[in-house]
Symmetry: C2
Subunit: 347 residues, 2 copies
């Protein structure tokens, strides 16, 4: 917090004096509450205009014990978060309800929040914000435990908390990956690799787990050299794909943890003079717009990002409405395999 502007602030008292009425009356006309005679009202309104009076919101909230019409949104920051399909879609979902409810949104972008932040950041202050939406915990569930102890409504987005009694809504990454790899096996692939995402995120972990699970269920070996990467950065996908291609025997199919990375990996394949899907089949994750428009339209997993944001926002509004509700709502959203041209049956 920082000192206010030097300009002398005009308060309700100034207006009352100038208008020759009590502050109660001024308050009444400002809030259009109670009864005020037409005459007084007009007079006060004029004075307000003349003095450019603006009620102090802090005082207002404090005196009325109300909460701002604000929804807090907390997300770890990552390079490219703005413009990413992931974040944009979730925001679009959240916004579809916050606009309808006339809620503004207060953003706090930062990887981690300490308990000190908890009490100091406005985003986390229950007298400020109706509730907060926590996007993508970044693997650190302990923060949520701290928040639980605060008098603050919140729901976690894109991270399903199995063992914590917390409102959350996530995506079934594991099943999605199983689906993808099952499909690859179905169409004859045996040498299937995985380029994984950040393994400190639930998405990264779940997608890798599903990959392994499908392989094991079909009686295939899980090869260490076929599991590469630990980040959602396209640059890393490039390195991962190169590593895969440098193997004595490269895979015939690759399951990649994001479309963006899959795109980059495909570029690497082309650069080596190989072809998708003829030499290597590819499956991405996200169903970004560019996945369909790519040189080789990408087979991928579609996840309901918009719905997730929307449902989360609806959920928090619901929670606020019913402060006595004790059971937690936990939602796990399904994905859908979108088959396009980047996969080919072999054998």
């Amino acid at each position: 917090m920082v000192k206010q502007l030097g300009t002398k602030k005009v308060s309700i008292m100034d207006v009352a004096k100038e208008a020759g009425v009590s502050i109660t009356t001024v308050s009444r006309v400002v809030n259009r509450s109670g009864v005020v005679s037409k005459k007084t009202q007009e007079n006060v309104l004029q004075v307000i205009e003349k003095l450019r009076y603006k009620p102090d919101i802090s005082a207002r909230l404090l005196a009325s014990k109300q909460v701002g019409k604000i929804l807090g949104i907390v997300s770890p920051y990552f390079e490219g978060i703005f413009g990413s399909y992931y974040f944009s879609e979730i925001m679009r979902g959240i916004n579809s309800v916050s606009m309808k409810e006339e809620l503004d949104t207060l953003f706090h972008l930062s990887g981690h929040f300490t308990s000190m932040e908890l009490s100091n950041r406005l985003v986390f202050n229950p007298s400020f914000v109706q509730g907060v939406l926590l996007i993508d915990l970044d693997g650190d569930e302990s923060k949520v435990k701290n928040l639980k102890e605060e008098n603050l409504s919140f729901v976690v987005i894109n991270h399903y908390l199995e063992n914590l009694s917390v409102h959350c809504i996530g995506i079934d990454n594991r099943s999605a990956a199983i689906n993808a790899v099952n499909y690859l096996i179905e169409i004859g692939h045996r040498r299937i690799a995985a380029i994984t995402g950040n393994l400190s995120t639930q998405a990264g972990i779940g997608r890798l787990e599903g990959y392994k699970k499908s392989l094991i269920d079909h009686g295939f070996d899980v090869r260490d050299d076929y599991i590469v990467g630990n980040s959602f950065h396209p640059d890393d996908a490039r390195k991962s794909m190169e590593a895969l291609l440098n193997l004595p025997q490269h895979p015939t199919a690759v399951f990649v943890a994001s479309d963006e990375m899959a795109q980059e990996a495909m570029d690497v394949i082309f650069e080596r003079g190989l072809k998708v899907p003829d030499d290597i089949s590819m499956i991405g994750f996200d169903d970004e717009p560019l996945a369909a428009k790519a040189r080789i339209p990408l087979t991928t997993l579609q996840q309901p990002l918009f719905d997730m944001g929307k449902m989360a926002a609806e959920l928090i509004l619901d929670i606020i409405q019913k402060p006595d509700k004790t059971e937690e709502t936990k939602i796990l959203l399904p994905t859908q395999l979108i088959k396009r041209e980047s996969c080919k049956s072999i054998g």
Copy 2:
């Protein structure tokens, strides 16, 4: 605003009583201000922990006459704003400074704000927000006049206010368009059309003006039937391009007000069995990532969106620092013509 949660709030008084000290002391340890004996401090800290005390921010701001560490951001809402290159880049620029300064951002997305909103919306409240960034006025400069009269720092982004003494930072759309059309003329085009953007925005107007200016400067006629569209929606670009193609003599070059629209227009051209750039040359605006990656890499105007956001954020911080500063900062950012493969010389 909405009533607070039912849970009984614990106040500084509760902590003071439980700890057997005055509220002054509690305040001191909460704020790490003044001197407190190690012993007392530890004791108070424990009670705070035990009672889960969280200072009320409103009371705090009110009593201390401070302002929240928040930057307000106001933008007209449009379908697809999240995920748009335009908005994302500006946000990325703003965020690059707000994160460094540890400022959170309060968003208000709405086409218009009335003077009532001015006094009620938290985004506009000087005791809440350090200042506000107004993105893209949507053509309505009168709002800015109202804001001017408030005791609130703000800077306007992507709208250059010629005649108002207001901090603003815009893009030189007119020069950009002149540049583009000059180039088309240089490489031999004479039948040059324009698909315009929303003509109630400065970008839409400026780009059209520049187009006309270049034509006139070269002694060419400005043909009404070669000026189509009045929106930034790709769907409308489709209709516009169709209209152009239905003309007895279609243009040999089209200057389009955005890359996204240019993309759509190119699709229409292809569908008609024509080719870019062989039959028709195209120039877009924005230099979106997809412009370079399109089937036919698009010649376009690059505008410094990121810089605009960044500079605006830096500017407002500067203004807040120096409340006595009277001169307005007005910045008009240049664009750059990026030549790619969608234009071909003729004649």
